[in-house]
Protein backbone atom coordinates (compact mmCIF):
# COMPACT_ATOMS: atom_id res chain seq x y z
CA UNK A 1 0.00 0.00 0.00
CA UNK A 2 2.65 2.37 1.01
CA UNK A 3 4.69 1.28 -2.02
CA UNK A 4 1.74 2.08 -4.32
CA UNK A 5 1.44 5.47 -2.77
CA UNK A 6 5.13 6.12 -3.26
CA UNK A 7 4.92 5.15 -6.94
CA UNK A 8 1.85 7.34 -7.45
CA UNK A 9 3.62 10.22 -5.76
CA UNK A 10 6.75 9.76 -7.87
CA UNK A 11 4.75 9.56 -11.09
CA UNK A 12 2.91 12.75 -10.13
CA UNK A 13 6.25 14.41 -9.44
CA UNK A 14 7.65 13.41 -12.82
CA UNK A 15 4.54 14.70 -14.58
CA UNK A 16 4.78 17.88 -12.55
CA UNK A 17 8.45 18.28 -13.51
CA UNK A 18 7.76 17.52 -17.17
CA UNK A 19 5.08 20.22 -17.24
CA UNK A 20 7.67 22.80 -16.19
CA UNK A 21 10.58 21.37 -18.17
CA UNK A 22 8.76 21.59 -21.50
CA UNK A 23 8.25 25.40 -21.46
CA UNK A 24 11.89 25.79 -20.36
CA UNK A 25 13.03 23.70 -23.34
CA UNK A 26 10.70 25.64 -25.68
CA UNK A 27 11.99 29.00 -24.42
CA UNK A 28 15.62 27.94 -24.61
CA UNK A 29 15.84 25.99 -27.86
CA UNK A 30 12.56 25.58 -29.74
CA UNK A 31 11.79 29.28 -30.35
CA UNK A 32 15.31 30.22 -31.50
CA UNK A 33 15.48 27.11 -33.69
CA UNK A 34 12.08 28.00 -35.20
CA UNK A 35 13.35 31.51 -35.97
CA UNK A 36 16.44 30.09 -37.64
CA UNK A 37 14.27 27.63 -39.57
CA UNK A 38 12.07 30.47 -40.87
CA UNK A 39 15.17 32.44 -41.90
CA UNK A 40 16.52 29.40 -43.73
CA UNK A 41 13.21 28.87 -45.55
CA UNK A 42 13.13 32.55 -46.63
CA UNK A 43 16.76 32.24 -47.83
CA UNK A 44 16.04 29.00 -49.68
CA UNK A 45 12.88 30.46 -51.25
CA UNK A 46 14.76 33.64 -52.29
CA UNK A 47 17.48 31.45 -53.86
CA UNK A 48 14.85 29.41 -55.69
CA UNK A 49 13.20 32.60 -57.03
CA UNK A 50 16.58 33.97 -58.20
CA UNK A 51 17.53 30.65 -59.82
CA UNK A 52 14.23 30.61 -61.73
CA UNK A 53 14.42 34.20 -62.90
CA UNK A 54 16.31 34.53 -66.20
CA UNK A 55 17.49 38.05 -65.36
CA UNK A 56 18.87 37.05 -61.94
CA UNK A 57 19.98 33.46 -62.45
CA UNK A 58 23.66 34.54 -62.52
CA UNK A 59 23.27 35.12 -58.77
CA UNK A 60 21.83 31.66 -58.05
CA UNK A 61 24.92 30.74 -56.05
CA UNK A 62 23.60 32.89 -53.20
CA UNK A 63 21.18 30.03 -52.43
CA UNK A 64 21.81 27.77 -49.38
CA UNK A 65 23.06 24.74 -51.36
CA UNK A 66 26.01 26.43 -53.16
CA UNK A 67 26.73 28.52 -50.09
CA UNK A 68 27.18 25.52 -47.78
CA UNK A 69 29.28 23.75 -50.43
CA UNK A 70 31.54 26.83 -50.67
CA UNK A 71 31.69 26.99 -46.89
CA UNK A 72 33.00 23.42 -46.71
CA UNK A 73 35.62 24.26 -49.39
CA UNK A 74 36.64 27.42 -47.49
CA UNK A 75 37.06 25.55 -44.23
CA UNK A 76 38.99 22.80 -45.99
CA UNK A 77 41.37 25.23 -47.70
CA UNK A 78 42.44 26.83 -44.41
CA UNK A 79 42.05 30.36 -45.85
CA UNK A 80 39.02 31.04 -43.72
CA UNK A 81 40.82 30.80 -40.39
CA UNK A 82 43.46 33.30 -41.57
CA UNK A 83 40.74 35.75 -42.60
CA UNK A 84 38.87 35.29 -39.32
CA UNK A 85 42.03 35.77 -37.23
CA UNK A 86 43.00 38.94 -39.13
CA UNK A 87 39.53 40.42 -38.61
CA UNK A 88 39.38 39.42 -34.94
CA UNK A 89 42.82 40.94 -34.37
CA UNK A 90 41.66 44.29 -35.82
CA UNK A 91 38.36 44.28 -33.92
CA UNK A 92 40.09 43.18 -30.71
CA UNK A 93 42.80 45.85 -30.92
CA UNK A 94 40.27 48.55 -31.83
CA UNK A 95 38.06 47.46 -28.96
CA UNK A 96 40.97 47.52 -26.51
CA UNK A 97 41.80 51.09 -27.50
CA UNK A 98 38.11 52.05 -27.35
CA UNK A 99 37.96 50.54 -23.84
CA UNK A 100 41.21 52.20 -22.71
CA UNK A 101 39.99 55.63 -23.87
CA UNK A 102 36.26 55.21 -23.22
CA UNK A 103 36.22 53.89 -19.64
CA UNK A 104 38.45 56.54 -17.94
CA UNK A 105 36.84 59.35 -19.95
CA UNK A 106 33.39 57.97 -19.12
CA UNK A 107 34.26 57.88 -15.41
CA UNK A 108 35.53 61.46 -15.59
CA UNK A 109 32.47 62.89 -17.36
CA UNK A 110 30.13 60.81 -15.19
CA UNK A 111 31.77 61.87 -11.92
CA UNK A 112 32.51 65.54 -12.64
CA UNK A 113 29.54 67.59 -13.79
CA UNK A 114 31.84 70.30 -15.11
CA UNK A 115 33.72 67.76 -17.27
CA UNK A 116 30.41 66.56 -18.70
CA UNK A 117 29.32 70.13 -19.43
CA UNK A 118 32.58 70.88 -21.23
CA UNK A 119 32.73 67.58 -23.14
CA UNK A 120 29.09 66.99 -23.98
CA UNK A 121 28.78 69.08 -27.17
CA UNK A 122 32.08 68.05 -28.80
CA UNK A 123 31.57 64.39 -27.89
CA UNK A 124 27.98 64.32 -29.19
CA UNK A 125 29.23 66.05 -32.37
CA UNK A 126 32.00 63.49 -32.88
CA UNK A 127 29.73 60.58 -32.00
CA UNK A 128 27.32 61.49 -34.79
CA UNK A 129 30.02 61.26 -37.47
CA UNK A 130 29.95 57.86 -39.14
CA UNK A 131 33.18 55.99 -38.34
CA UNK A 132 33.53 55.31 -42.09
CA UNK A 133 33.59 59.07 -42.75
CA UNK A 134 37.02 59.08 -41.09
CA UNK A 135 38.33 56.69 -43.77
CA UNK A 136 40.17 59.27 -45.97
CA UNK A 137 41.69 60.96 -42.90
CA UNK A 138 42.73 57.56 -41.47
CA UNK A 139 44.47 56.64 -44.74
CA UNK A 140 46.40 59.92 -44.68
CA UNK A 141 47.19 59.87 -40.97
CA UNK A 142 48.41 56.28 -40.50
CA UNK A 143 51.40 54.55 -42.04
CA UNK A 144 49.83 51.11 -42.37
CA UNK A 145 46.41 49.98 -43.60
CA UNK A 146 46.01 47.91 -40.45
CA UNK A 147 46.45 50.98 -38.24
CA UNK A 148 43.93 52.92 -40.35
CA UNK A 149 41.33 50.15 -39.97
CA UNK A 150 41.96 49.89 -36.23
CA UNK A 151 41.52 53.68 -35.96
CA UNK A 152 38.11 53.39 -37.67
CA UNK A 153 37.11 50.68 -35.21
CA UNK A 154 38.27 52.83 -32.28
CA UNK A 155 36.11 55.68 -33.61
CA UNK A 156 33.17 53.27 -33.68
CA UNK A 157 33.68 51.67 -30.27
CA UNK A 158 34.79 54.53 -28.04
CA UNK A 159 31.41 56.32 -27.87
CA UNK A 160 29.13 53.49 -26.69
CA UNK A 161 31.72 52.47 -24.09
CA UNK A 162 32.26 56.05 -22.91
CA UNK A 163 28.58 57.00 -22.62
CA UNK A 164 27.61 53.71 -21.04
CA UNK A 165 30.39 54.14 -18.45
CA UNK A 166 29.35 57.71 -17.72
CA UNK A 167 25.72 56.57 -17.33
CA UNK A 168 26.88 53.88 -14.89
CA UNK A 169 28.84 56.40 -12.80
CA UNK A 170 25.82 58.72 -12.62
CA UNK A 171 23.69 55.84 -11.33
CA UNK A 172 26.02 55.13 -8.38
CA UNK A 173 24.26 55.69 -5.06
CA UNK A 174 25.84 58.91 -3.63
CA UNK A 175 25.72 57.32 -0.17
CA UNK A 176 28.33 54.78 -1.32
CA UNK A 177 30.81 57.61 -1.80
CA UNK A 178 29.99 58.96 1.67
CA UNK A 179 30.32 55.51 3.26
CA UNK A 180 33.63 54.74 1.57
CA UNK A 181 35.10 58.16 2.40
CA UNK A 182 33.96 57.57 5.94
CA UNK A 183 35.76 54.25 6.00
CA UNK A 184 38.94 56.01 4.95
CA UNK A 185 39.05 55.18 1.21
CA UNK A 186 41.68 56.99 -0.83
CA UNK A 187 40.89 58.16 -4.38
CA UNK A 188 42.45 55.06 -5.94
CA UNK A 189 40.71 52.72 -3.49
CA UNK A 190 37.41 54.45 -4.25
CA UNK A 191 37.86 53.87 -8.00
CA UNK A 192 39.09 50.27 -7.66
CA UNK A 193 36.80 49.03 -4.90
CA UNK A 194 33.62 51.06 -5.36
CA UNK A 195 33.34 52.80 -8.74
CA UNK A 196 34.63 50.04 -11.05
CA UNK A 197 32.57 47.17 -9.59
CA UNK A 198 29.51 49.44 -9.42
CA UNK A 199 29.70 50.40 -13.10
CA UNK A 200 31.05 47.14 -14.57
CA UNK A 201 27.64 45.95 -15.82
CA UNK A 202 27.13 49.29 -17.62
CA UNK A 203 30.66 49.18 -19.03
CA UNK A 204 30.04 45.66 -20.36
CA UNK A 205 26.70 46.77 -21.85
CA UNK A 206 28.69 49.50 -23.64
CA UNK A 207 31.26 46.93 -24.79
CA UNK A 208 28.43 44.76 -26.13
CA UNK A 209 27.10 47.68 -28.17
CA UNK A 210 30.64 48.54 -29.27
CA UNK A 211 31.34 44.97 -30.43
CA UNK A 212 28.19 45.10 -32.58
CA UNK A 213 29.18 48.41 -34.17
CA UNK A 214 32.81 47.33 -34.60
CA UNK A 215 31.80 44.13 -36.36
CA UNK A 216 29.52 46.11 -38.70
CA UNK A 217 32.21 48.71 -39.44
CA UNK A 218 34.92 46.06 -39.93
CA UNK A 219 33.73 44.76 -43.32
CA UNK A 220 33.70 48.12 -45.19
CA UNK A 221 36.87 49.13 -43.29
CA UNK A 222 38.67 46.04 -44.63
CA UNK A 223 37.94 47.19 -48.18
CA UNK A 224 40.84 49.59 -47.46
CA UNK A 225 44.03 48.31 -49.08
CA UNK A 226 44.54 45.24 -46.86
CA UNK A 227 44.82 41.72 -48.30
CA UNK A 228 43.45 39.81 -45.35
CA UNK A 229 40.31 39.66 -43.22
CA UNK A 230 36.67 38.84 -43.81
CA UNK A 231 35.92 42.25 -45.42
CA UNK A 232 38.74 41.72 -47.90
CA UNK A 233 37.51 38.17 -48.58
CA UNK A 234 34.01 39.47 -49.37
CA UNK A 235 35.40 42.14 -51.68
CA UNK A 236 37.63 39.58 -53.37
CA UNK A 237 34.74 37.14 -53.82
CA UNK A 238 32.61 39.89 -55.36
CA UNK A 239 35.39 40.88 -57.77
CA UNK A 240 35.86 37.25 -58.86
CA UNK A 241 32.08 36.73 -59.12
CA UNK A 242 32.32 33.86 -56.58
CA UNK A 243 28.87 34.51 -55.11
CA UNK A 244 28.74 31.18 -53.27
CA UNK A 245 31.99 32.07 -51.45
CA UNK A 246 30.68 35.58 -50.80
CA UNK A 247 27.48 34.18 -49.23
CA UNK A 248 29.54 31.68 -47.18
CA UNK A 249 31.65 34.54 -45.77
CA UNK A 250 28.51 36.54 -44.98
CA UNK A 251 27.28 33.48 -43.09
CA UNK A 252 30.57 33.26 -41.18
CA UNK A 253 30.43 36.99 -40.32
CA UNK A 254 26.93 36.51 -38.93
CA UNK A 255 27.90 33.46 -36.87
CA UNK A 256 31.01 35.11 -35.39
CA UNK A 257 29.06 38.32 -34.69
CA UNK A 258 26.40 36.29 -32.89
CA UNK A 259 29.03 34.44 -30.84
CA UNK A 260 30.75 37.70 -29.86
CA UNK A 261 27.43 39.22 -28.83
CA UNK A 262 26.53 36.14 -26.76
CA UNK A 263 29.91 36.27 -25.02
CA UNK A 264 29.33 39.97 -24.21
CA UNK A 265 25.80 39.24 -22.95
CA UNK A 266 27.31 36.63 -20.59
CA UNK A 267 29.84 39.20 -19.37
CA UNK A 268 27.04 41.74 -18.77
CA UNK A 269 25.19 39.14 -16.67
CA UNK A 270 28.38 38.17 -14.87
CA UNK A 271 28.89 41.73 -13.64
CA UNK A 272 25.24 42.60 -13.17
CA UNK A 273 24.91 42.80 -9.40
CA UNK A 274 21.39 44.26 -9.80
CA UNK A 275 20.12 40.71 -10.45
CA UNK A 276 22.18 38.93 -7.82
CA UNK A 277 20.54 37.54 -4.70
Amino acid sequence: MSGDLAIAHNTGGTRHQARYLLPAFVGRYLYPLSGLGILFVVWWFGGWLIANDDDLSAFADFAPGPTFAALVDLIGSGDLSDSILSSLYRVGTGLLWGFAIGVPTGILIGYLTIAMRVANVPFQFLRMISPLAWMPIAVLAFETWDSAIIFLIVMATVWPIMFSTSHGVKRIDPDWFKVSRNLGASGTQMVRTIILPAIMADVMAGVRLAVGVAWVVLVPAEYLGVTSGLGYAINDARDTLAYDTLAAIVLIIGVIGYMLDSACAKLVNRFNWHQEA
Binding site: V179, R181, Q189, W273, E276
Partner: protein, 268 residues
Protein backbone atom coordinates in the same frame (compact mmCIF):
# COMPACT_ATOMS: atom_id res chain seq x y z
CA UNK B 1 39.85 56.86 26.94
CA UNK B 2 39.78 58.78 23.66
CA UNK B 3 36.86 60.10 21.61
CA UNK B 4 36.13 63.53 23.11
CA UNK B 5 34.41 65.94 20.73
CA UNK B 6 34.53 69.70 20.82
CA UNK B 7 32.34 71.74 18.46
CA UNK B 8 33.42 75.37 18.55
CA UNK B 9 31.33 78.21 17.12
CA UNK B 10 30.16 76.19 14.17
CA UNK B 11 27.89 78.01 11.74
CA UNK B 12 26.92 76.80 8.33
CA UNK B 13 25.14 77.86 5.19
CA UNK B 14 25.19 75.83 1.98
CA UNK B 15 25.83 78.85 -0.24
CA UNK B 16 26.52 82.54 0.32
CA UNK B 17 22.97 83.53 -0.53
CA UNK B 18 21.28 80.64 1.29
CA UNK B 19 19.76 80.87 4.74
CA UNK B 20 21.98 79.81 7.63
CA UNK B 21 21.37 76.18 8.56
CA UNK B 22 23.37 76.29 11.78
CA UNK B 23 24.39 79.28 13.89
CA UNK B 24 27.00 79.34 16.65
CA UNK B 25 26.91 75.74 17.75
CA UNK B 26 29.10 75.11 20.78
CA UNK B 27 29.17 71.65 22.21
CA UNK B 28 31.45 69.37 24.18
CA UNK B 29 31.04 65.62 24.35
CA UNK B 30 33.17 63.66 26.79
CA UNK B 31 34.98 60.50 25.70
CA UNK B 32 32.65 57.51 25.98
CA UNK B 33 29.56 59.69 26.45
CA UNK B 34 26.31 58.87 24.61
CA UNK B 35 24.64 62.03 23.33
CA UNK B 36 21.53 62.52 21.24
CA UNK B 37 20.68 65.51 19.09
CA UNK B 38 16.95 65.86 18.79
CA UNK B 39 14.94 68.33 16.77
CA UNK B 40 12.37 68.77 14.05
CA UNK B 41 13.07 67.96 10.42
CA UNK B 42 15.22 70.67 8.84
CA UNK B 43 16.71 71.95 12.09
CA UNK B 44 20.23 71.11 10.84
CA UNK B 45 20.99 68.17 13.15
CA UNK B 46 22.08 65.93 10.26
CA UNK B 47 24.21 68.75 8.85
CA UNK B 48 25.87 69.14 12.24
CA UNK B 49 26.62 65.41 12.29
CA UNK B 50 28.06 65.57 8.75
CA UNK B 51 30.27 68.46 9.89
CA UNK B 52 31.43 66.41 12.89
CA UNK B 53 32.34 63.54 10.56
CA UNK B 54 34.30 65.76 8.18
CA UNK B 55 31.97 65.04 5.25
CA UNK B 56 30.91 68.71 5.23
CA UNK B 57 33.19 71.67 5.94
CA UNK B 58 31.55 74.24 8.23
CA UNK B 59 31.23 77.80 6.93
CA UNK B 60 32.60 79.00 10.27
CA UNK B 61 34.06 77.40 13.37
CA UNK B 62 35.60 73.98 13.73
CA UNK B 63 35.17 70.52 15.19
CA UNK B 64 37.92 68.83 17.18
CA UNK B 65 38.07 65.17 18.06
CA UNK B 66 40.63 64.36 20.75
CA UNK B 67 41.98 67.87 20.27
CA UNK B 68 42.64 67.45 16.54
CA UNK B 69 40.66 69.55 14.06
CA UNK B 70 38.45 67.45 11.81
CA UNK B 71 39.31 68.31 8.21
CA UNK B 72 38.21 65.12 6.45
CA UNK B 73 36.35 61.89 7.20
CA UNK B 74 38.23 59.19 9.05
CA UNK B 75 37.59 55.62 10.03
CA UNK B 76 38.38 56.68 13.63
CA UNK B 77 35.13 58.67 13.78
CA UNK B 78 32.69 56.65 11.83
CA UNK B 79 29.21 57.49 10.66
CA UNK B 80 26.15 55.29 10.20
CA UNK B 81 23.42 56.52 7.89
CA UNK B 82 19.67 56.12 7.65
CA UNK B 83 20.19 53.60 4.84
CA UNK B 84 22.60 50.74 5.46
CA UNK B 85 24.19 51.46 2.04
CA UNK B 86 25.89 48.09 1.81
CA UNK B 87 27.73 47.32 -1.42
CA UNK B 88 25.50 44.81 -3.24
CA UNK B 89 28.27 43.07 -5.21
CA UNK B 90 30.19 42.25 -2.03
CA UNK B 91 29.39 39.49 0.44
CA UNK B 92 28.48 40.41 4.01
CA UNK B 93 32.02 39.46 5.06
CA UNK B 94 33.54 41.75 2.40
CA UNK B 95 31.24 44.61 3.41
CA UNK B 96 32.26 44.36 7.04
CA UNK B 97 35.95 44.11 6.10
CA UNK B 98 35.95 47.16 3.83
CA UNK B 99 37.33 49.75 6.26
CA UNK B 100 40.09 47.35 7.32
CA UNK B 101 40.95 46.69 3.67
CA UNK B 102 41.19 50.44 3.04
CA UNK B 103 43.51 50.71 6.05
CA UNK B 104 45.83 48.09 4.52
CA UNK B 105 45.36 45.54 7.32
CA UNK B 106 46.57 41.98 6.57
CA UNK B 107 44.10 39.32 5.41
CA UNK B 108 44.52 37.13 8.50
CA UNK B 109 43.85 40.00 10.89
CA UNK B 110 40.86 41.13 8.81
CA UNK B 111 39.42 37.63 8.85
CA UNK B 112 39.58 37.23 12.64
CA UNK B 113 38.23 40.74 13.24
CA UNK B 114 35.32 40.17 10.82
CA UNK B 115 34.49 36.81 12.42
CA UNK B 116 34.38 38.50 15.82
CA UNK B 117 32.07 41.27 14.53
CA UNK B 118 29.76 38.88 12.68
CA UNK B 119 29.44 36.97 15.92
CA UNK B 120 28.67 40.22 17.76
CA UNK B 121 25.80 41.02 15.38
CA UNK B 122 24.69 37.34 15.25
CA UNK B 123 25.09 37.03 11.49
CA UNK B 124 27.92 34.51 11.27
CA UNK B 125 25.87 32.12 9.15
CA UNK B 126 25.17 34.90 6.62
CA UNK B 127 28.86 35.77 6.14
CA UNK B 128 29.03 34.68 2.51
CA UNK B 129 25.64 35.83 1.21
CA UNK B 130 24.96 39.09 -0.62
CA UNK B 131 23.20 41.99 1.20
CA UNK B 132 20.07 41.67 -0.96
CA UNK B 133 19.09 38.47 0.83
CA UNK B 134 19.10 40.18 4.26
CA UNK B 135 16.23 42.03 5.93
CA UNK B 136 16.46 45.79 6.59
CA UNK B 137 17.36 45.16 10.24
CA UNK B 138 20.05 42.65 9.35
CA UNK B 139 21.50 45.06 6.77
CA UNK B 140 21.66 47.79 9.40
CA UNK B 141 23.43 45.35 11.74
CA UNK B 142 26.00 44.73 9.01
CA UNK B 143 26.43 48.50 8.59
CA UNK B 144 27.03 48.69 12.35
CA UNK B 145 29.63 45.93 12.17
CA UNK B 146 31.29 47.70 9.23
CA UNK B 147 31.45 50.90 11.28
CA UNK B 148 32.86 49.08 14.31
CA UNK B 149 35.47 47.16 12.30
CA UNK B 150 37.93 50.05 12.25
CA UNK B 151 37.68 50.37 16.06
CA UNK B 152 36.35 53.93 15.98
CA UNK B 153 36.52 56.11 19.05
CA UNK B 154 33.42 58.01 17.94
CA UNK B 155 30.26 56.66 16.34
CA UNK B 156 28.04 59.21 14.60
CA UNK B 157 24.55 57.90 13.95
CA UNK B 158 22.30 59.71 11.48
CA UNK B 159 18.84 58.30 12.22
CA UNK B 160 20.03 54.77 11.44
CA UNK B 161 16.93 53.05 12.81
CA UNK B 162 14.22 55.25 11.32
CA UNK B 163 13.46 52.96 8.38
CA UNK B 164 13.15 49.82 10.52
CA UNK B 165 10.10 48.13 12.00
CA UNK B 166 9.39 48.65 15.72
CA UNK B 167 10.76 45.29 16.96
CA UNK B 168 13.98 45.48 14.96
CA UNK B 169 14.47 49.12 15.89
CA UNK B 170 14.02 48.40 19.59
CA UNK B 171 16.53 45.51 19.47
CA UNK B 172 19.12 47.57 17.57
CA UNK B 173 18.71 50.58 19.90
CA UNK B 174 19.58 48.36 22.85
CA UNK B 175 22.44 46.66 20.97
CA UNK B 176 24.12 49.87 19.76
CA UNK B 177 23.93 51.56 23.19
CA UNK B 178 25.30 48.44 24.87
CA UNK B 179 28.16 48.03 22.37
CA UNK B 180 29.14 51.70 22.67
CA UNK B 181 29.13 51.50 26.47
CA UNK B 182 31.07 48.24 26.53
CA UNK B 183 33.71 49.44 24.08
CA UNK B 184 33.87 52.99 25.46
CA UNK B 185 32.85 54.51 22.12
CA UNK B 186 31.55 58.07 22.14
CA UNK B 187 28.16 58.14 20.43
CA UNK B 188 26.34 61.08 18.86
CA UNK B 189 22.89 60.08 17.68
CA UNK B 190 20.68 62.28 15.51
CA UNK B 191 17.03 61.41 15.89
CA UNK B 192 13.56 62.88 16.04
CA UNK B 193 12.32 60.02 18.18
CA UNK B 194 12.14 61.14 21.82
CA UNK B 195 11.93 57.57 23.16
CA UNK B 196 15.02 56.58 21.19
CA UNK B 197 16.93 59.56 22.58
CA UNK B 198 16.00 58.68 26.18
CA UNK B 199 16.64 54.97 25.61
CA UNK B 200 20.16 55.38 24.23
CA UNK B 201 21.72 58.53 25.68
CA UNK B 202 23.40 59.98 28.73
CA UNK B 203 22.43 63.44 27.55
CA UNK B 204 19.97 64.86 25.03
CA UNK B 205 20.48 68.17 23.23
CA UNK B 206 17.37 69.81 21.82
CA UNK B 207 17.77 71.77 18.60
CA UNK B 208 15.59 74.56 17.25
CA UNK B 209 15.30 75.47 13.60
CA UNK B 210 15.59 78.57 11.36
CA UNK B 211 18.44 78.74 12.05
CA UNK B 212 19.55 75.50 13.68
CA UNK B 213 20.91 75.94 17.21
CA UNK B 214 20.96 74.11 20.50
CA UNK B 215 18.30 75.47 22.85
CA UNK B 216 18.18 72.98 25.67
CA UNK B 217 20.03 70.12 27.27
CA UNK B 218 18.58 67.34 29.36
CA UNK B 219 20.61 64.82 31.33
CA UNK B 220 19.26 61.27 31.23
CA UNK B 221 20.19 59.92 34.64
CA UNK B 222 18.66 56.47 34.23
CA UNK B 223 20.23 53.11 34.91
CA UNK B 224 20.92 50.57 32.17
CA UNK B 225 19.22 48.70 30.60
CA UNK B 226 16.34 51.13 30.18
CA UNK B 227 12.68 50.20 29.98
CA UNK B 228 9.98 52.32 28.34
CA UNK B 229 7.38 51.54 31.01
CA UNK B 230 9.67 52.62 33.83
CA UNK B 231 8.37 55.66 35.77
CA UNK B 232 11.75 57.45 35.65
CA UNK B 233 11.91 56.87 31.88
CA UNK B 234 8.51 58.56 31.54
CA UNK B 235 9.68 61.46 33.73
CA UNK B 236 12.68 62.18 31.49
CA UNK B 237 10.53 61.66 28.43
CA UNK B 238 8.01 64.28 29.66
CA UNK B 239 10.83 66.72 30.37
CA UNK B 240 12.21 66.23 26.89
CA UNK B 241 8.77 66.54 25.36
CA UNK B 242 8.31 69.92 27.06
CA UNK B 243 11.66 71.11 25.72
CA UNK B 244 10.80 69.76 22.28
CA UNK B 245 7.46 71.62 22.32
CA UNK B 246 9.42 74.79 22.90
CA UNK B 247 10.74 74.44 19.36
CA UNK B 248 7.26 74.83 17.86
CA UNK B 249 7.51 78.60 17.47
CA UNK B 250 9.75 79.38 14.55
CA UNK B 251 11.75 82.52 14.03
CA UNK B 252 12.35 84.26 10.70
CA UNK B 253 15.35 82.80 8.88
CA UNK B 254 18.63 84.70 9.02
CA UNK B 255 21.86 84.55 7.11
CA UNK B 256 25.22 84.38 8.85
CA UNK B 257 25.80 88.04 8.00
CA UNK B 258 22.59 89.00 9.78
CA UNK B 259 24.16 88.95 13.22
CA UNK B 260 24.73 86.14 15.65
CA UNK B 261 21.98 85.14 17.98
CA UNK B 262 22.70 81.48 18.71
CA UNK B 263 21.89 80.26 22.20
CA UNK B 264 25.04 78.63 23.42
CA UNK B 265 24.61 75.18 24.82
CA UNK B 266 25.36 74.94 28.50
CA UNK B 267 27.33 71.89 27.57
CA UNK B 268 29.92 74.10 25.90
Amino acid sequence: MSGSISVDYVSHQFSETAEAVLVDINLNVKAGELVSLIGRSGCGKSTLLHIMSGLVDPSEGCVRIDGKTVIKPSARWNMMFQKASLFPWMSIRENVALGLKFAGIGKKEISSKVDELLDLISLTEKADVKPRSLSGGQQQRVALARSLATSPTVLLLDEPFSALDTFTRSALQQDVATICRQKGITMVLVTHDIDEAVLMSDRVLVMDQNPGRIIDEIAVDLSWPRKHMNQDFQRVREKLLLAFKGTEKTEPPRTLDGGRHGVESSAA
